[in-house]
Amino acid sequence: MDGLYGKGLLQGLSITLKHFVTTYLEDIRWLLQGKRRYFNAEGIVTRQGVDASGIFTVQYPEEKLPVPEEFRFIPFLLYEVDENGEKHDRCTSCGICAKVCPPQCIWIERTNDPVTGRPVPEPREFYIDVDICMNCGFCAEFCPFDAIKMDHDYELAVYDRHKHNIYDKERLSRPVSYYASIRPTNYAREEAARAEAEAAKAARKAGAAAAAANQ
């Protein structure tokens, strides 16, 4: 150990002191600009941003950190509302989500048409045991119909998990507009891909019709 004994200790403590003082200096700087650093969105983003200095913590639940678009927590099912106000599930009960689910927490009940006996697309029931769900997001990633997506709502505490934590289809269903609101970028990209696929399909149909007409 070289130099004065205790020098290293004092040097270290200067860091703590700087951290303590910076908090108040920053507060004053903000106040001089007529802004408050706490309990507003700008303050939270700055306090937790790359230039963060001084106090770093957020006073949850009064203050909440914004979640990024990709944030994932418990899946939900999408339905579309047609012009008559009727709901149509996007889900076709193909079962891919249930097959890829690592903890196997998805149960799907497929229905058969009583007349033809063939499966109908919309599931009769769709259960997710959220006690078991590990929020991996595979179901949303591999769904070919964009029918199941991951939610942003992370405040799901209940008093009795035995009664409330198996979500049925009703509890899981959300309108497409909700999805568009929480994941705008993903939604825009998927809709564009859909429109493209539709156009390609229509073009193929038109081409086939034209070919048939030519013959």
Binding site: G12, V50, E70, C101, G137
Partner: protein, 582 residues
């Protein structure tokens, strides 16, 4: 990806040295040598002393139920670098007895115990062959293919009950609490004293001291540290025999967080294992993903596109910084600097976790890597955030941490010269990562056996020579700076392009064979040994957990130190129980 296949010349050399009892493993997709059990010790000794394979990284067993034998698989390396030498020994399932290699490589101690515990392979000559992860009195060997767990449904996922007639039920309702244990007839659990407990106490060494005529005679006592104790970083227990305040001997007791990750992994399909690896070392899910996808990609024979490789390295190095700031913080906690250093580190960790969250959707359970790429490209603004962090904030903050702690006289007094592990011991005990490098062995998988695109980057392997707590602290500081160097190069070179080889698939086809994927995780060498038989589920899935194997050396490090130092020594190894107990 390094090739583990040996060059022809060396191969003949080993075969020449052992004309009998050693043959090449010529099963399709397999590699290395198969050694007869009675030749094993001679073979291993020759490997270590004549061929320079001084580091035995991984030992595990595989149950080949249809073929009627069990196999013990060893992966040996040279500490000077290079690919693995794989050797195996096969024993009949009815009488699985193999010789123990503890006398040649002391580092296999816990790993052989684990193979005994989970597969029932008896290692003859092992000094302490007892269950290590399961409790005493447990019936059966859970990793055997014919063993079934309490909530057994089918051999492999996906379960047929989920679709198309999904009648939902809760697993607990089928097997309610209190009705899920069977005792032998006439057995009363209340009256039972575990034999293993007594054996643990009896098993730890006693120091015989000459009776002094002038001084008072003292008695050695046994102290339990943990399992419920904040200094153990989880649920971990150390049984120490002390003489006054000095440790005479110490034995780690673990398995409190055991969930048989490997059995779950064998029920899962290949892709389902990726989110499960997040839960091993929950501080570093990114590098856990990395190791696992490397192993499976090796089997599948695919290489991810350039951009994906760069993103992978970016995430792996960021997670190293996350781990090291926390590890240093927790070490300081253990030294008595309560929470201030830790929370300063956590500020930087928080900022990096924000990046992980934006990229993968989750802060800690990232589940970001896929076979042949990564799950998604960097969203808008993430690259800029990484750049700002790496170029501006983190170097400054690491310097702050340095000023804050490195020259602190109290830390120096507590950490210097305590918990020393020499280079020879560090290699013999198969320690890895910062523990190995702090003891003066410059062994880093990124340099010694480069995977992914690590051969392109310019960085130094951090190495320190005293092997004490202080050097294990310094080495983490050094490594963070080296990680920043790598990150700067990643930011400079990150190419545009696809992030996934081929189409993302939920059911991948993995050809039959074996593969060992290893990465230099922040805690050390993290390896995944995967055996596929061409089915959707892996036949064998083994994790070489660095925290678990580093604990083999704990007893050696603590002996002769004071009891208050044990906590700091454990903190300097930086264990995480999710990975240790698996």
């Amino acid at each position: 990806m390094s090739e583990q296949v040996l060059d022809v010349e060396k191969k003949s050399e080993i075969e020449e040295r052992f004309p009998e009892g050693v043959r090449r493993d010529d099963r399709k997709g397999f590699e290395g040598y198969i050694v007869e059990p009675d030749k094993l010790i001679a073979f291993a000794t020759a490997l270590r002393d004549e061929f320079g394979y001084d580091y035995l990284s991984s030992v595990t067993g595989v149950d080949y139920l249809p073929d009627g034998f069990m196999e013990v698989v060893y992966h040996a390396y040279r500490t000077t670098g290079g690919p693995a030498l794989v050797f195996k020994t096969q024993v009949p399932r009815e009488k699985p007895v193999a010789p123990s290699l503890v006398s040649v490589y002391p580092g296999v101690n816990f790993q052989e115990r684990e193979a005994y515990d989970l597969l029932g392979i008896v290692f003859e000559g092992h000094p302490n062959l007892k269950r290590i992860l399961m409790w005493e009195g447990f019936d059966g060997y859970p990793l055997r293919k014919d063993w079934r767990e309490p909530f057994y449904e089918e051999d492999g996922k996906p379960f047929k009950s989920r679709w198309p007639e999904g009648k939902v039920y809760r697993a607990e309702d089928k097997n309610p609490f209190n009705k899920n244990v069977d005792y032998p007839a006439g057995f009363d659990p209340e009256q039972w004293t575990p034999v293993a407990e007594t054996a643990v106490y009896a098993g730890i060494g006693r120091l015989e001291q000459p009776v002094s005529e002038t001084a008072l005679t003292t008695d050695q006592i046994v102290v339990n540290l943990g399992p419920q104790h904040p200094s153990t970083h989880g649920v971990f227990r150390m049984v120490a025999r002390i003489e006054g305040e000095t440790i005479v001997d110490l034995q780690p007791v673990m398995g409190y967080l055991h969930r048989n990750h490997e059995k779950i992994g064998e029920r899962n399909t290949f892709i389902m294992n990726i989110p499960f690896t997040d839960r091993l070392d929950y501080f570093n899910s990114m590098s856990n993903n990395f190791g696992y996808v490397l192993a499976v990609e090796k089997l599948m024979g695919i290489i991810p596109p350039e951009r994906a490789e760069y993103i992978r390295v970016m995430m792996a190095e960021l997670t190293r910084i996350v781990n090291h700031v926390s590890a240093i913080g927790f070490l300081l906690n253990d030294l008595g600097a309560f929470f201030t250093p830790l929370l300063y580190g956590f500020i930087e960790r928080e900022l990096i976790l924000d990046i992980f969250e934006a990229v993968s959707g989750s802060r800690m359970m990232c589940n970001y890597f896929r076979f042949g790429g990564v799950a998604r490209d960097l969203p808008e603004g993430v690259f800029e955030k990484v750049r700002d962090l790496v170029k501006e904030r983190l170097p400054r903050k690491i310097d702050d941490l340095d000023t804050f702690l490195t020259n602190n006289e109290i830390i120096r007094a507590r950490a210097q010269g305590v918990g020393v592990l020499t280079a020879e011991q560090a290699i013999a005990y198969s320690t890895c990562g910062p523990v190995l490098r702090a003891s003066g062995v410059p062994y880093d998988v990124r340099r010694a056996d480069p995977y992914s695109i690590y051969d392109r980057f310019d960085f130094d392997v951090a190495v320190r020579y005293h092997g004490d707590i202080y050097d294990r602290y310094l080495i983490r500081m050094d490594e963070m700076r080296q990680s920043l160097r790598i990150l700067e190069q990643v930011i400079r070179d990150l190419p545009e392009g696809p992030i996934q080889e081929g189409k993302p698939q939920y059911q991948v086809r993995v050809p039959a064979g074996e593969a060992y994927g290893r990465v230099e995780g922040p805690k050390g060498e993290l390896g995944f040994y995967v055996v596929s038989n061409g089915k959707p589920n892996p036949w064998r899935y083994h994790v070489r957990a660095p925290s678990f194997i580093n604990l083999t050396a704990l007893s050696e490090m603590t002996r002769g130190n004071k009891i208050a130092d044990v906590v700091a020594i454990l903190g300097s190894i930086d264990i995480v129980l999710g990975e240790t107990d698996r």
